[in-house]
């Protein structure tokens, strides 16, 4: 039996996993990172536009702080988020960005003096303060009250990932790349590591660890049209689900990004609109102000994507042989801006569309983009059901995004959650009570089960084709579990996906190649992905309301009375055909910001019966408290939840630590 032992096994070499690993390493634990691909190729690198942190250095960011960031994030989530976790996040985001600045990320900086920008289609000149010169700059993004999105041109994720990965190298953290964790080793509610397949040799190996941290990103590839990298197949979330113990949260909360280039679905950043770009219809009419007079192109992503699809359905799209689309217009930003701050966008348009965005319009249509759902964890990043299993980043449902994530909050979450959960993992490993005597039979069983699964595929005489099964699943998801959903279609989708899942168990192979075998990879991934797809579709079917990115035509209102809750999905057994769903209520009486209108989108939600009482209580509790930190603490104390080293207040220009 081939076994490797370590203290902390991190599965996934993107921003979140690497940062968690660095944290645990610095606390003196051995850390080993597994990655599907060389870690610098992780999908974190694709984050273009920026990272939200309320530094408030730029003119349009003045007055920003944790309180404003908190409210934007909770409203963005359509009140689905865990507000304590959002507080932990907004307080740590400035620290995360400052740490990365010290480590070497070349954040764009504020330049003193006049600054020409485009706001609402008009050229405006702002005056940046002398005192802010050289501090980290920010741009505008959707759903935010302030310019808060710090950036490195439009290669923010790339820069962050390279710096993080080089730091991990400096800490001598080993990364085993081109491997895939295909099951978790667990017994009696405790996780002990993973069974891992080498994608080059095909061999299996057991990695035994005190703490296991899944940081494998999202599962966008269960959809046909997605901005996600081809590796975002969600196998990390799937192996947690397949334990039958750990639960996944809010899987039906799937984000569609307004500007995937059409028809390829490759992302162009929200920074295009943040910097002043407009959305135009087939007649080159700017239509967003007609729907969203307040925020226009910069309402939250769920709202903009729905408005776009609504506008296309009303017959206002531009027509091509591939179907309908709309236009993104960034010509007004000028060539110089595009060639410095949006150069990846320029390259993408040039190579994939043959379009020069400084001169021509860019064809766009919403495409699947982000998984708010994932492995349900507590505020420490640990699964409440499976001890020793942690999860961070997009793979997790920590739950700071609720039913819709704001642009710029995802890369921010990766590093913030990595910082915090890295400490909690270290605490977990420090605790002598978590030392267990693992029986080698548990490891041997896990290994032989995984071997058997692969043997069943390779030699089980199955007749289904792995690629066809995946393609059919993706078509069902994009066709029936997309931006607009309804009961009838979702029922059909669940039935069709149950069939997909059955077919995935009858996949055979046409090639018995030794070593690297992409068909075998696809075969077990098809089994895993179909389970995730069923969680998404079943969750969407059962949730008879509309919240954030989950929109039901037949239940178009947000219903706090009946649905202010988090969906939890569990796979009840190896032979089960569908997930088991249950719901975890969100407690209005403990919320710092009780549910209300978001400030954009429809204003028609059904109220929770506790809202009035809580609003009154909030008003009374906060009355007369001048200091904003004390006021916050009176409403919803959270500081005790943070690791001690990250509890401090953040300094700001002209404000000190107030």
């Amino acid at each position: 039996m081939d076994v490797i032992y370590t203290d902390v096994l991190v599965i996934g070499g993107g921003l979140a996993g690497l940062r968690a690993g660095i944290g645990a390493r610095r606390r003196g634990h051995d850390v080993l990172v597994l990655s599907l691909v060389p870690e610098k190729r992780s999908h974190s690198a694709a984050a273009q536009g920026g990272m939200q942190a309320s530094l408030g250095n730029a003119f349009k960011g003045e007055g920003d702080d944790e309180d404003v960031h908190f409210r934007d994030t909770v409203r963005g989530s359509d009140w689905g988020a865990d507000q304590e976790v959002v507080r932990m996040f907004v307080n740590t985001a400035p620290k995360a960005i400052r740490e990365l600045a010290a480590w070497g990320v070349p954040w764009n900086r504020v330049e003193r003096g006049p600054r020409d920008v485009i706001i609402n289609g008009e050229r405006v000149t702002l005056e940046e303060k002398d005192a802010a010169h050289g501090l980290i700059d920010a741009r505008d993004f959707g759903g935010t009250k302030k310019w808060r999105t710090c950036y490195v041109a439009d290669g923010t994720g790339h820069s962050m990932l390279y710096t993080m990965s080089d730091q991990a190298l400096a800490e001598s953290i080993p990364v085993h790349d081109r491997v895939e964790a295909i099951s978790l080793i667990h017994a009696d509610g405790v996780c002990h590591g993973a069974i891992v397949r080498d994608l080059v040799t095909g061999k299996l190996r057991a990695y035994v660890a005190r703490a296991t941290c899944i940081a494998t990103g999202g599962f966008g590839r269960i959809y046909r049209i997605s901005t996600n990298a081809v590796i975002n197949q969600g196998t990390g979330a799937a192996i947690a689900l397949e334990t039958g113990v750990a639960e996944l949260g809010n899987m039906e909360a799937v984000q569609f990004h307004p500007t995937g280039i059409f028809p390829a679905g490759i992302l162009v950043t929200e920074g295009c609109r943040g910097d002043g770009g407009l959305l135009l219809d087939g007649n080159e009419h700017r239509f967003m102000p007609d729907y969203e007079p307040e925020k226009k192109e910069l309402a939250s992503r769920d709202v903009v994507s729905r408005r776009m699809e609504e506008h296309i359905a009303a017959g206002h799209g531009a027509s091509t042989r591939f179907g309908e689309h709309l236009w993104l217009d960034i010509r007004l930003l000028g060539r110089e801006h595009i060639e410095t701050k949006l150069r990846e966008v320029k390259e993408i348009c040039q190579y994939f569309l043959g379009v020069d965005p400084a001169e021509e319009l860019v064809p766009v249509r919403p495409a699947q983009h982000y998984s708010m759902g994932g492995i349900r964890t507590d505020h420490r990043g640990e699964s409440p059901q499976l001890k020793g299993l942690f999860s961070v980043g997009e793979a997790a449902c920590w739950d700071m995004h609720g039913f819709n994530r704001l642009g710029g909050n995802s890369v921010a979450e990766t590093v913030v959650a990595g910082m915090l959960v890295g400490e909690f993992i270290a605490d977990f490993c420090d605790d002598r009570n978590t030392h267990t005597n693992l029986s080698s039979a548990v490891v041997a069983d896990a290994l032989s089960n995984a071997e058997q699964r692969l043997k069943d595929i390779a030699a089980g005489g199955g007749t289904e084709n792995a690629f066809a099964v995946i393609a059919d699943m993706q078509n069902i998801m994009t066709g029936k579990v997309g931006i607009f959903r309804d009961g009838e279609e979702l029922e059909a989708a669940v039935a069709a996906l149950e069939d997909i899942h059955r077919r995935s168990l009858a996949i055979g192979l046409s090639s018995q190649a030794r070593g690297a075998n992409p068909e075998l990879d696809a075969a077990y991934r098809a089994q895993m992905m179909s389970k995730l797809a069923l969680c998404v579709a079943a969750g969407a079917l059962q949730r008879t309301e509309s919240r954030g990115a989950h929109f039901r035509r037949d239940y178009p209102r947000r219903n706090d009375r009946d649905w202010l809750s988090r969906t939890l999905a569990r796979w009840p057994g190896r032979d089960a055909e569908r997930p088991e769903l249950r719901y975890e209520a969100l407690d209005v009486k403990r919320m710092e910001l009780p549910p209300g209108w978001r400030g954009y989108g429809e204003r028609n939600h059904i109220e929770h019966p506790d809202v009035d009482e809580r609003e009154t209580a909030v008003e009374q509790l906060a009355a007369g408290i001048e200091d904003r930190h004390e006021r916050q603490a009176s409403l919803m104390p959270y500081e005790n939840l943070l690791p001690e080293r990250y509890r401090g207040p953040n300094e700001r220009l002209d404000r000190g630590y107030s």
Partner: protein
């Protein structure tokens, strides 16, 4: 619509190098696949179609399929390039795909650029040295000139795809040559005030035949860099600084 200027429907003949070192019976050879060209087809789309409909065992690497992750460098009709953003319409109907040379072959078109790049990063220690591990992250960040931040980013745009190494005469002859990718990184950290290494420190790393003095200035790297990095100027500049150190 303005995409896909290709003439729809050509029959493409894609010649793919096949060789699986894990299999003792495998020998290197070209295998030809015929597929119908579609509008807007990239080599990512073409190779995926080949794998999914003609031969499931073909190995190649794609991750972002958007030209930003650097996974899919390969020899495309004799030139190193990113397959994901190469439109078939820009190529003749006979397309020959080979793995990038210099790097360890994994199988078919898949090569181990990750291992090579990590080795290079370890040798050159491509991280800011002298960073205070206990930097006070509550405090206002250190200032940096806006222009300097942009200059650093200009060099940081490298995606480690390996095209410059595949196109490099020296890298073919000298196993430990750090390539344009390595020298560009050194130039990037040299610019960065957060890295406290001096030119004398850098000289220890690249002031040799595996570094700047191994470069023959053939500049194949410049011709093929998918990110149009200013490699020629950076290499020349770094070499001048290192020469000065040597004297």
């Amino acid at each position: 619509m303005t995409d896909a200027k290709g003439d729809d429907g050509r029959l493409l003949r894609v010649h793919v190098m096949r060789y699986n070192p894990q299999d003792a019976n495998s020998t290197p050879h070209l295998e030809t696949f015929e597929i119908r060209e579609a509008a807007g087809m990239t080599l990512y789309v073409a190779l995926t179609e080949i794998r999914e409909t003609l031969d499931a065992s073909v190995n190649f690497d794609f991750v972002c399929r958007a030209g930003i992750c650097g996974s899919c460098g390969m020899m495309i009709n004799g030139q190193p390039g990113l397959a994901c953003r190469t439109l078939t319409a820009s190529l003749p109907k006979d397309i020959t795909l080979l793995p990038l040379p210099v790097f360890e072959l994994i199988s078919d078109l898949s090569v181990n650029t990750g291992k090579w790049m990590r080795g290079m990063a370890e040798r050159l220690e491509t991280w800011a040295h002298g960073v205070d591990k206990d930097v006070d992250v509550d405090k206002l960040e250190e200032r940096m000139e806006p222009e300097l931040a942009q200059e650093i980013y200009e060099l940081e745009r490298c995606i480690e795809c390996g095209c410059c190494v595949a196109a490099c005469g020296t890298a073919h002859m000298r196993e430990d040559f750090v390539g344009a990718v390595g020298m560009n990184k050194m130039a990037r950290f040299r610019l960065d005030p957060r890295d406290d290494r001096s030119d004398a420190d850098l000289y220890e790393l690249v002031g040799n035949d595996e570094g700047v003095f191994g470069c023959l200035t053939l500049l194949g790297c410049v011709d093929v860099c998918p990110k149009d990095l200013p490699l020629a100027g950076q290499i020349a500049f770094l070499r001048r600084r290192m020469l000065k150190e040597a004297l």
